[in-house]
């Protein structure tokens, strides 16, 4: 699973709030993804990609490392 650090994030208040992240990957480059679970992630948090059973197909989900 890919690891990295949160470059920026926001919590979107449109219906049920959800958190979007841009993650700087340790392997290089950045991706846009979602925070997994209820943990609030902030800039510079170290994160790891995780499986999300009910997630959006093709979108990476991350949790705190």
């Amino acid at each position: 699973m890919r690891t990295g650090a949160v470059y920026t994030e926001t919590i979107v208040h449109m219906g049920e709030p959800y958190q979007i992240l841009i993650v700087s990957l340790d392997e290089g480059g950045r991706v846009t993804g979602r925070a997994s679970g209820d943990t609030r992630l902030v800039i510079d948090d170290k994160v790891i990609e995780t499986d999300s059973e009910n997630g959006i197909p093709g979108i990476p989900y991350f949790r705190k490392l």
Binding site: T10, V12, H13, I22, T32
Partner: protein, 385 residues
């Protein structure tokens, strides 16, 4: 673009008020703005040699396509080349830039540029979905990014890197609402306090309701001419540039390279430095966008835009008055009309016709029109000379 072959003047300008107009369709808004521009220029439709339309999403908002001839025929200009330009919220800025180049190069002597958008016939959720089409649909939009969320992520990083605060963002909204309250054509003529801005409901943190521009209907038109007449503002310089569409592909997100490049081109063409610009209309789709723009334009050191706003440096009596029209925040943001609308606002100030909003120094003004999260930017400098 290195040098103009000949000067280009704004022979006429006109726009509709921006707002919610349930009884007006897209074409009637466009035609109203076009007729105002004809009257202002004292020209008839047969004087126009080409028509440039800026429109972002007319087909999605209204189900009407083939918009440029659809509008030009109704304005009495059937037969002339009529073309629609789409560059997200910079659509009419891009149309204006191409029209300017074609007149400056000698291809045409007199052209019309018109921007229009009819947004309010759709529910807010659908408008948000259509606007998101200006982002990367395969990555960021698929992940649930809306435009408020993209600019929220820019704001969050700007706060992290430079110490910008929510109070700084709110100060932009308070200032633009104060200006818009004096603008009879503004959509939201409402003065707000810092506390109201700070306590409004969150949209995408750290952006709250008053950090976001409006959903609007409206149109704006200008006539560009190679023939300079008395009191007609001249285009001193202009530039356009592009950048990555997706936010996650940009090396940095607290600066817009396309904005910097477009500004550099416009300043070079005009032979002017940022300190010589007397007032500006900036693309404040979100409060953070105005802060980044004033930094990228060189009005203030990078990272200090929020501080300058909070200290009053961008108010009508400040060092560099920004968005004396009320900006997209208060005046309204019919996205395809916004770029030409900004030009109309500059013209009004340059001619000394801005009423209660009239600035003391108003001989050189700059407009900056942004598309998406910075993938297109057009900068235009106008002056009376």
């Amino acid at each position: 673009m290195k040098r103009l072959l000949r000067p280009v003047a704004i022979a006429g300008a006109g726009k509709t008020p921006f707002g919610t107009f349930p009884d007006r369709d897209l074409r009637s808004l466009a035609v109203a703005a076009g007729h105002k521009a004809f009257a202002d220029a004292s020209l008839e439709p047969d004087a126009i040699e080409a028509f440039y339309l800026g429109n972002f999403a007319g087909p999605q908002f209204t189900s009407q396509n083939h918009l440029a001839p659809y509008i030009s025929e109704e304005l009495g200009m059937a037969g002339i080349p009529s073309t629609r330009f789409e560059a997200a919220c910079a659509s009419s800025g891009a149309a204006f830039y191409q029209a300017f180049l074609n007149v400056a190069s000698g291809i045409y002597d007199t052209v019309m540029v018109l921007g229009v958008e009819k947004m309010t016939s759709q529910p807010t959720a659908r408008v948000t979905e259509i606007l998101a089409g200006a982002g990367d649909s395969t990555t960021e939009v698929r992940a649930g990014s809306t435009f408020p969320s993209l600019f929220a992520m820019i704001a969050r990083r700007h706060m992290h890197d430079f110490g910008t605060t929510r109070e700084h963002l709110a100060a932009v909204a308070v200032k633009n609402h104060a200006n818009g309250a004096l603008n009879p054509d503004a959509q939201m003529r409402k003065v707000i306090t810092l506390e109201q801005a700070l306590n409004a409901r969150p949209i995408a943190e750290p952006l709250h309701l008053y950090d976001c521009s409006l959903i609007s209907d409206g149109a704006a038109a200008v006539i560009l001419s190679a023939r300079k007449t008395a009191n007609a503002p001249t285009i001193l310089g202009a530039g356009q540039a592009s950048d990555f569409v997706a936010l996650d592909r940009k090396p940095e997100i607290t600066t817009f390279p396309a904005l910097r490049a477009a500004a550099q081109a416009a300043y070079a063409m005009a032979g002017l430095a940022p300190s010589q610009i007397e007032f500006a209309e900036l693309h404040d789709c979100f409060t953070i966008a105005e802060i980044v723009a004033m930094e990228d334009l060189g009005f203030v050191e990078r990272g200090r835009g929020g501080f300058l706003s909070f200290e009053g440096g961008t108010a009508r009596d400040g060092r560099i008055p920004i968005n004396s029209s009320g900006g997209l925040k208060s005046k309204g943001h019919p996205v395809g009309a916004t770029g030409v609308g900004q030009i109309c606002d500059l013209v009004q100030q340059l001619r000394g016709q801005a009423g209660a909003r009239q600035l003391k120094r108003h001989s050189i003004g700059l407009a900056q029109n942004l598309g998406g999260s910075g993938a297109t930017c057009v900068v235009t400098i106008l002056g009376l000379n």
